[in-house]
């Protein structure tokens, strides 16, 4: 097992630059998730690590060794593809054994390794079947089995769960997390699903437009998003962003007027902004409560999920606002509603989308 370092990786396809100077240091045995919207370059970055694409510039180190120009098999990586990439004409056994057959491994050892992988992945009674006879989840496990048998230094996963239905995805998330613990391996996982990122990752890399927006633990990203993009990407439902104007600011706080006229004093490092600046106040739907003295919204749509009531409304002059309220909250569609939020829970983003750091946040954010 090994560390994985990316140093100033850039990638262009013709004149289109898809990755801009990306540097990351992934620790030994760490589970790192690359997350971002479609086209952010996350899969390209993974393929560069795998050796399926060549970086235009930059260096890749695995276990302290420069593998930038090495053949994939010499990098000590193995990869699980989104489509599983199972050989349809081969049995499960032969699929798992494929990398070992390529290496011309001795028969007895090959069999031991395949059986071992099969028992870890509960595929022992499926070894003689062909991939076409398996369910989606089982196919995914075969693909993982094929990557396990080689004992790679780094496992790479390219959106491995995106072809599965929601329930199975949940199960497989748990299985993958357990697998990570039992293999004690360095894993890099690509997804566009922030729930997968939050639930499985030791640390998350949020990518946007070929840039790293932020690299940190899930709770760090949740409580201290460095940019507006990260703030709105992490968390479900998405963070509300309300336009506001600064009416006073100093190093310990900012006084803002939200669109619609409600005033708040927020404990963030306000040195960078001045009176009259336009900012956006970020409020997570789960941080608001019903209560007097807050800001009013008019409720448009109400989704009662049982445990929570997701309430969609508008604030002031038409800014959309979402609140995650208790399941039995006294809310009705078409009615006005007064909401309050603790100033400590608010985020403030300047005009360029960068955050003004919050003075206080839950301790969990600091140590992940």
């Amino acid at each position: 097992m090994a560390t994985l370092e990316l140093m100033s990786i850039s990638k262009s396809f013709g004149s289109a630059k898809v990755l801009h100077d990306i540097s990351l240091a992934i620790r030994d045995k760490e589970f790192v998730v690359f997350v971002g919207p479609s086209g952010c370059g996350k899969s390209t970055l993974l393929r560069i690590i795998a050796g399926l694409e060549e970086a235009t510039s930059g260096q890749i180190m695995i276990g302290g060794e420069d593998v930038s120009t090495a053949h994939p098999v010499d990098r000590g990586i193995s990869m699980v593809f989104q489509s599983y990439a199972l050989y349809p004409h081969l049995s499960v056994y032969e699929n798992i054994a494929f990398p070992l057959r390529v290496q011309k491994m001795e028969k007895a050892e090959l069999d031991t390794r395949v059986q071992q992988a099969a028992s870890i992945l509960q595929l022992t009674d499926k070894l003689q079947l062909k991939p076409g006879q398996l369910s989606g989840g089982q196919r995914q496990r075969v693909a993982i089995g094929r990557s396990i048998v080689r004992n790679p230094k780094v496992f790479l996963f390219d959106e491995p769960l995106s072809n599965l239905d929601a329930a199975l995805r949940g199960d497989m998330r748990v299985e993958l997390s357990q697998l990570h613990r039992s293999l004690d391996a360095t894993m890099v996982y690509v997804t566009h699903d922030q729930v997968e990122a939050m639930t499985m990752a030791d640390r998350i890399v949020v990518l946007n437009g070929g840039h790293v927006e932020q690299f940190g633990t899930p709770m760090e990203l949740y409580h201290h998003p460095r940019t507006k993009f990260v703030a709105s990407f992490i968390g479900q439902p998405n963070m509300n962003l309300i336009p506001a104007t600064v009416s006073a600011a100093d190093a310990t706080g900012v006084k803002v007027t939200l669109t619609g006229g409600h005033e708040m004093v927020l404990p963030v490092e306000g040195g960078r902004v001045a009176k009259g600046d336009k900012v956006e106040v970020g409020i997570r739907p789960e941080h608001v409560q019903i209560g007097d003295g807050g800001f009013p919204i008019s409720v448009n749509v109400l989704e009662r999920l049982g445990g929570v009531s997701i309430t969609y409304g508008t604030l002031g002059d038409g800014v959309r606002f979402c609140a995650s309220l208790p399941g039995d909250a006294a809310v009705e569609e078409g009615q006005p509603l007064a909401l309050t939020v603790s100033p400590e829970d608010c985020h403030v983003f300047d005009a360029s989308g960068d955050v003004l750091r919050r003075m206080s946040a839950p301790a969990i954010a600091a140590n992940g």
Binding site: L52, H71, P72, Y87, P88, F98, P99, V102, K130, G132
Partner: protein, 310 residues
């Protein structure tokens, strides 16, 4: 269902009418095709079988029972024709498959201008067969042909060599021309099959360290195996029945060296007006190809089991 039939005791007439009209409609749809098949397949086939029991010529017909078949069974020349036909078929099909596989692999490779190469494969297939064969007649010509000329220039032969004038060279020259005509179709089918193989499979194998040849052997070939098998059956039938190529190049000569069953049948029935004997040959061709196709279908079943997804 019970509830409905109880609720609608008098409604049974409706579905009945509907079924009848559906049947009529179905017959209307398949009728023209049935008529077509009856006129151009079934009737000629029946007529051929009937004629095969006749001594039929321009003068008239006389029933001779199995005499035509008996004559063929006892004829050494006919045995040789059967052997020659199968040799012709296996050799030509094998060459087409090998060349098609090589061609498709090259055309599938990521080389610049491969679109142009793909188009350049087509002419032998597109050019009318007769025109193509006249081209080959010129190539094989001893006095004006480029092949003979090249052999002389290189000093391999010391005089003009007429490719189609000698038994051995005529047979293999005809095979070459047949391969030239038949390879493009095989190539394009193989290419289409290869393009259907998921790129991920190759990438996965590449990451696992599989080299080019290993990937070809363990991914490409098994993945396109069903196409290889069905294509070889099609190609075998085409080649078995290949007539124009041989007829234009050699008319089955010299001294019968390129006479395959189909050429023999034509010569007997059409050139010599022996309709009865010709028909007996045609019936034997149908039987041989039938047996061959049955064997092949079993091979296909086996291949699908071995290389299929289930």
């Amino acid at each position: 269902m019970t509830e409905i039939s109880q609720a609608l005791p008098s409604g049974s007439a409706m579905p009945r009418t509907k079924t009848l009209s559906e049947a009529v409609f179905a017959w209307l749809l398949i009728g023209p095709a049935m008529l077509f098949i009856a006129v151009i397949v079934a009737w000629p086939l029946a007529e051929t079988i009937r004629l095969s029991f006749m001594d039929a010529g321009l003068g008239g017909e006389e029933y001779v029972g199995l005499a035509n078949y008996q004559e063929l069974v006892e004829s050494r020349k006919f045995h040789q024709t059967i052997i020659r036909t199968f040799y012709w078929m296996f050799l030509s099909v094998a060459l087409k498959l090998v060349l098609g596989l090589i061609g498709a692999t090259l055309l599938n490779a990521a080389v610049p201008g491969r679109g142009l190469f793909r188009v350049l494969v087509m002419p032998p297939w597109i050019i009318p067969m007769a025109i193509g064969m006249f081209g080959w007649l010129w190539l094989y010509n001893g006095y004006f042909g480029i092949l003979s000329g090249t052999l002389m220039t290189l000093g391999i032969t010391d005089g003009p060599f007429e490719f189609l004038a000698y038994k051995q060279s005529a047979f293999y020259s005809a095979v070459v021309a047949d391969v030239w005509v038949g390879t493009p179709m095989v190539t394009l089918f193989f290419l289409a099959a290869m393009q259907g193989v998921s790129r991920d499979l190759y990438e996965a194998a590449w990451v696992d360290g599989a080299g080019r040849w290993y990937r070809f052997r363990r991914i490409t070939i098994p993945q396109i195996m069903p196409v290889i098998v069905s294509m070889s059956l099609l190609s075998a039938i085409f080649t078995f029945n290949s007539f124009e190529i041989i007829w234009i190049l050699t008319e089955g000569g010299p001294r019968g060296a390129t006479t395959t069953l189909i050429v023999d049948t034509y010569k007997t029935a059409i050139s010599n007006f022996k309709f009865g004997e010709g028909s007996a040959r045609a019936v034997i061709i149908v039987i041989l190809l039938g047996i061959f196709a049955l064997l092949y279908l079993n091979v296909l079943k086996f291949v699908n089991r071995k290389y299929g997804t289930k």
